[in-house]
Every structure is written in C-alpha cells, then in structure tokens.
Amino acid sequence: MKALVLFALLALGCSAASAMEKGDEAPNFKFEHSWNTLPGAKQLTDYRGKIVFLEIWKIH
C-alpha cells in the first residue's frame, strides 16, 4: 500500500512539472461531443474573446 502511494505521488510530481502554467498558451483541443457550449463552437480556440474557466473532470 505504502509503495503504491509513493508511486502515485511520484507520478503526480512528474506530470506536475510540465503541466499548463500561468502564462502558457492553452493547447487547442477539438470537442468530440458538446453540450451547452457556445453556438458553433467546435474547439477551444472558438472561445477566443471569452474568458474561459476550464475544469478537467471525471464522473465519480
């Protein structure tokens, strides 16, 4: 169990080093499906001109 936690922490630490930071350009991504989005928006760059609060999430 301990080893597993440690491994998880390490993995987290590694990916955090290259995560999107303040000042970085957000990667553009295409929407495969979308609900309640801006009319006509198919990818993140279609939100240019708006301030976007982006949440990355999973259904629990």
């Binding site: 987290l12 990916s15 955090a16 290259s18 995560a19 999107m20 930071e21 303040k22 000042g23 970085d24 350009e25 957000a26 990667p27 553009n28 991504f29 295409k30 929407f31 495969e32 499906h33 979308s34 609900w35 309640n36 989005t37 801006l38 009319p39 006509g40 993140l44 760059t45 939100y47 240019r48 001109g49 708006k50 301030i51 976007v52 609060f53 982006l54 949440e55 990355i56 999430w57 999973k58 259904i59």
Partner: protein, 255 residues
C-alpha cells in the same frame, strides 16, 4: 458543481464561459448525467484531455484569457466572485492572431478597442483593394468581426426565445454601442429601447429579484411556507422563466 452553475449564470453575459472537459468515453452516460444534474454549463468530451493539458490529477481547473493564455490554475473550489471580478477588470478585446497590412492598421486598432462596427466598415472598404495581400487581410478581419456579430446574435436569440429579457437588454445595449453604425446595431438600439419601456421586461426583472430574495431564505423556512412563497412567485410572474424556475422549486419542496 452547484457553484459553477451559479458563476455561469451570473457572468456568462459578461464574457465568462465555463467549460467542463472530460475524457469519459461513454457519450450516452455523459448525456444522462448532464440531464439528471440539470447541468446548464458547457460540457465537452475530449479524448485524452488530461494528456493534452498535462493535468496533474483531477479535479484541476484553469482560467484562460481572451487570447487563449492560461491566467490561473487551481482547484475548482477556488472559483469565486473575487477571482472572476479580477479577470473581468483586466478583460479586453482579443488581440488579432496575426499582423495585418498597414492599410488595415486603423480597422485593426478599432477591433482591438472593441469598436466592431467601425472595424467592420474599415475592413469592408478594403475588400476590393488593388493589392492581393490587403484584400486577403481585409477579408480575414472582416470574417473575424462577422463571426463575433454572428455569435452575439445567437446569444441574443437564445435569451429572447427563453424569455430572459433581463439578460437580453444589456446584451442589446452592448451590441448597439460596439457595432455602432452597423444595421445590426441600429436594430439592437431599437429593440433595447422598446424592451426597456415594456411591461414584460419589468415583470421579468421583478420576478428575478423576487426569486433571488426568496431563494436564500428557503432552507430556513418550513416546507409549507417555502412552497407557498415559491408558488406565489410562479403565479404572480407567470410567463417569465423565473416563474417556471419557482414552480419547479416548489415542486421539489413537495417531495
């Protein structure tokens, strides 16, 4: 998630958009979830979204400015009025993604100071310029502004059809100002003036205010009284979307 919905309602018309991105591969399950939660925020399915933004665990959230730059990173719970107000204070028109010919300097500057009507006029005049590069740049700027115009028209249409007249008015007033001299701006100004003086508009605003007054008190009230207050709003302001919301809330109290 409730606070995301709240922020979304409050700030959407001011230019803040909530976007929830997930890599859940079951679109029908996602659809069901959105319907069940009555989730009125933008939700998108993006395969490998974690890898794309190099997210370190979840939930993680980001603030992204008008030009697509990251301005904040944190836990979704960090989203509050203070944060959003701060972003709004610094909000400006998006920069043009590339430099245009000198002939278009004026129109580009108009665009960046949110004088879209003037920018459109400036670009339109140069669509038939003798130099190919100028024509291409004019078309490029023209398309960007027309795209904006189209999006604003869609937003106005959505509010108009749903009966959110209180949200429609500021939108129309803003467009009337920013698209000055354009026919769309004239239509907006006309509609805004008519709307402002109308009974329907007043009713919608009153309904919104009344519901906002009652909502925070509901938990403290006895179910019977809560239901009564909500039913009164639903009846007094019938025909407005806020009355519909009150009716739905009253229904939920019964259960």
């Amino acid at each position: 998630m409730p606070h995301l919905v709240e922020v979304n309602e409050k700030y959407r018309d001011k230019g803040i958009e909530i976007l929830m991105a997930t890599d859940v591969d079951q679109a029908p399950a996602l659809e069901k979830f959105i319907a069940e939660k009555n989730l009125h925020v933008g939700v998108v399915r993006v395969p490998d979204v974690y890898k794309l933004v190099k997210a370190s665990g979840y939930p993680t959230s980001y603030g992204i400015d008008v030009d697509g730059k990251c301005i904040w990173r944190g836990h979704p719970q960090g989203l509050n009025d203070n944060l959003v107000e701060g972003w709004l204070k610094d909000m400006r028109a998006p920069k043009l993604p590339r430099k245009l010919s000198d002939e278009l300097a004026r129109a580009a500057a108009d665009y960046e100071s949110q004088k879209y009507g003037k920018a459109l006029e400036g670009a339109q005049k140069l669509l038939k310029h003798k130099t190919e590069q100028v024509r291409a740049d004019a078309q490029y700027l023209y398309d960007i502004v027309v795209g904006r115009l189209w999006m604003n028209q869609e937003a106005a249409k959505i509010h108009r059809e749903a009966g959110f007249l209180d949200k429609l008015l500021p939108l129309l007033e803003q467009d009337a100002e920013q698209f000055e001299d354009n026919d769309w701006a004239k239509d907006c100004a006309k509609e805004a003036k008519k709307l402002k003086g109308s009974k329907e508009y007043k009713k919608c605003v009153d309904a919104r205010d009344e519901l906002a007054k009652v909502k925070p008190e509901l938990e403290k009230m006895k179910p019977k009284d809560a239901r009564k207050s909500l039913e009164k709003i639903a009846k007094d302001f019938k025909g407005t979307p806020y009355a519909d919301e009150a009716a739905k809330l009253a229904e939920a109290v019964k259960e």
